[in-house]
């Protein structure tokens, strides 16, 4: 399917959704649910509220579907709506359980000792711990910085796109990403598991030096 064809199909799908056709609602959800879920997951980490968040994101999408003027592709527009849902969730998280507490506790100290061991099982455990430590640090960031960092560094979106999604300037977005990165690097300096996860080469070099 060419970009133009996809674009036309999006326009017509939205048109059908606006006439209240349930099949169109389902089709739109099925087309975009994977991408929206992945973005929410990368921003928020594993989360028991994920079902509700995904549903909320799409309810927001359908509520404001009339406002889509096709100045952006439907995917980008839906991403923008999803980012707003994530932002609201992060803003309210003071009243919620921190994301990292929702993660399964694999036993951090055991993982620390296991990280030097060889074998795929140990590496997987190390990766899981690294993710957990990373999101612990991300929990300390403000919503805007977290969104900017995760969308750019984890979700792999260009800075300009991130700025567009969060409704900010590229410069401000760049600054937020830089600050978040510094914060994570500082945490990694004191946490070998996190350091191993975010920069295995540097971690290996540090290990060699200490040896």
């Amino acid at each position: 399917m060419t970009v133009a064809t996809a674009y036309v199909e999006d326009v017509l799908l939205v048109d059908r959704c606006l006439t209240g056709e349930p099949a169109a609602t389902r089709e739109l959800f099925r087309r975009h649910r994977g991408r929206v879920h992945a973005s929410l997951y990368r921003v928020l980490g594993t989360n028991r509220d994920m079902d509700d968040l995904l549903q909320e994101a799409f309810i927001q999408v359908f509520q404001s579907l009339r406002n889509w003027r096709a100045e952006a592709s439907l995917s980008t527009w839906i991403d923008r709506v999803s980012v707003r849902v994530a932002y609201r969730y992060l803003s309210k998280r003071g009243r919620l359980v921190p994301t990292t507490e929702l993660m399964e506790d694999d036993g951090g100290s055991a993982a620390d000792s296991a990280r030097m061991n060889e074998g795929p099982g140990a590496r997987r455990q190390l990766a899981r711990d690294g993710v957990k430590r990373l999101y612990e640090v991300l929990d300390e960031l403000g919503p805007a910085a977290r969104l900017a960092f995760t969308l750019h560094e984890i979700d792999g979106r260009p800075l300009a796109e991130v700025a567009n999604l969060v409704g900010s300037s590229v410069t401000a977005t760049k600054l937020r990403v830089w600050r978040a990165r510094k914060k994570i690097e500082q945490a990694a300096a004191e946490d070998p598991v996190l350091r191993e996860f975010i920069d295995p080469a540097a971690a290996a070099a540090a290990l060699k030096e200490s040896a």
Partner: protein, 399 residues
């Protein structure tokens, strides 16, 4: 710091996704709840009205002086039979003993029979009649303001439900009465509202020409040309037994039943149906100042997006579908048309339905084609295009 791709996303289970989807559909339908509630109120009102009407009818039937087995009226009550065939059902046969009626597709007829008279009141459609001559009983077919009196014959009447009637006599003779004029039509001749009496070959040619030159499927055209019902072909032979629910009620032993011969009327046939399909022009798209297909499609798209909700987008979407069809993007065109058809209204609704038939049936007369033609006939039962759609359905039924 390279984190992209290092955090695997845990996939949601299908059951959870289905659950979300279900909730979402409910939530979205709730967003449009007011009109739905209004229609429910209307349904409730209609239901109550029906209940009152049924109660009244039952009460009337149960009244003490109601006619029963012991108190038959002295005046002869006519027997009534109804024939109804939709666009996708088989034709029905009504055997009255000395007259046999076979309906075409999309036909509505009420037959009233007394001792000396059979009156066939056509609402629309096509009827093939085989009648044994009986001087003591007259058979009259009424189609709009036209009356066809049987004089012992085999003939076919097509009626568009509005103005146009076409009669084709294959055996014997009939008398056609209209506007105070009478014409006897013998075997080998036909009669139409527009032309009056003419030879059957001319009638066939006129019908074919009408289809070939029709510029648009607009149903209003149907009143200017001999109706395309002349292209109809019975799906089943008389006495095929598909539907004779009134047969048991019919008087007569059946010994005087019509010839029972299978009559295959002249029609376009499969290849001619295809020719008609190709030649029947489609409604032209809106002029956007360019004939270049991709540019025009882009312009229509832009127009669609700039239109406010509530404005009739059907013409723009239809125009886009025409251009997509011309650009050989039939899948895209069908998708666009679905957006028009789902609206069930709008200026270009009928044109979109016809373009849908054209695209679906151009390659072959398959199930998609059948659905498209059937949809067209249900929504636009009259006119030239409806006749072509009916012919297509008949051809598919014969395959």
């Amino acid at each position: 710091m390279k984190l992209q791709g290092k955090i695997p996303v845990e996939q949601l289970e299908e059951e959870r996704l289905t659950n979300i989807e279900r909730k979402l559909v409910v939530a979205v339908s709730d967003m449009q709840a007011p009109p739905e509630r209004a229609s429910r109120r209307m349904l409730a009102f209609a239901g109550m009205t029906m209940a009152v009407a049924v109660a009244g009818f039952v009460g009337y039937k149960l009244r003490p002086d109601a006619p029963g087995p012991g108190n038959q009226p002295t005046v002869e009550q006519p027997q009534r039979f109804a024939i109804h065939t939709s666009a996708d059902t088989k034709s029905q046969t009504l055997d009255l003993g000395d007259a046999q009626l076979v309906s075409g597709l999309g036909t509505d007829v009420v037959v009233e029979r007394t001792r000396d008279r059979v009156v066939v009141q056509m609402q629309r459609g096509s009827l093939d009649l085989t009648v044994k001559h009986d001087p003591s009983r007259m058979l009259v077919v009424r189609a709009g303001d036209t009356e066809i009196l049987d004089i012992g014959t085999h003939f076919v009447v097509d009626y568009d439900g509005k103005d146009d009637v076409a009669v084709r006599v294959t055996e014997g003779e009939v008398e056609v009465k209209r506007a105070g004029k009478r014409e006897n039509i013998a075997a080998g001749f036909g009669w139409t509202t527009d032309t009056g009496k003419l030879a059957l070959a001319q009638l066939d040619a006129a019908a074919a020409t009408a289809v070939a030159v029709a510029p648009t499927p607009d149903p209003t055209l149907g009143s200017h040309v001999p109706q395309v019902p002349t292209v109809q072909t019975p799906v089943v032979a008389p006495n095929a037994g598909s539907a004779t629910p009134q047969q048991d009620d019919a008087a007569g032993s059946g010994s005087g039943a019509g010839s029972g011969s299978v009559v295959v009327r002249k029609g376009f046939g499969k290849s001619n149906a295809r020719v008609a399909l190709e030649k029947l022009a489609i409604e032209e798209p809106l002029d956007v100042g360019t004939k270049e297909l991709s540019t025009a499609i882009a312009k229509y798209l832009e127009m669609t997006l700039s239109m406010k909700e509530g404005e009739d987008k059907t013409q723009v979407l239809y125009s886009m579908a025409v251009m997509q069809h011309r650009a050989r993007q039939d899948n895209a065109a069908l998708y666009t048309l679905s957006a028009v058809i789902k609206r069930q209204g709008g200026k270009a609704y009928k044109s979109a339905l016809w373009l849908n038939v054209r695209i679906e049936c151009m390659q072959k007369f398959d199930d998609e084609c059948r659905q498209a033609a059937d949809l067209y006939l249900r929504k636009v039962p009259d006119g030239v295009a409806a006749g072509v759609a009916q012919t297509i359905l008949t051809e598919i039924a014969r395959q």
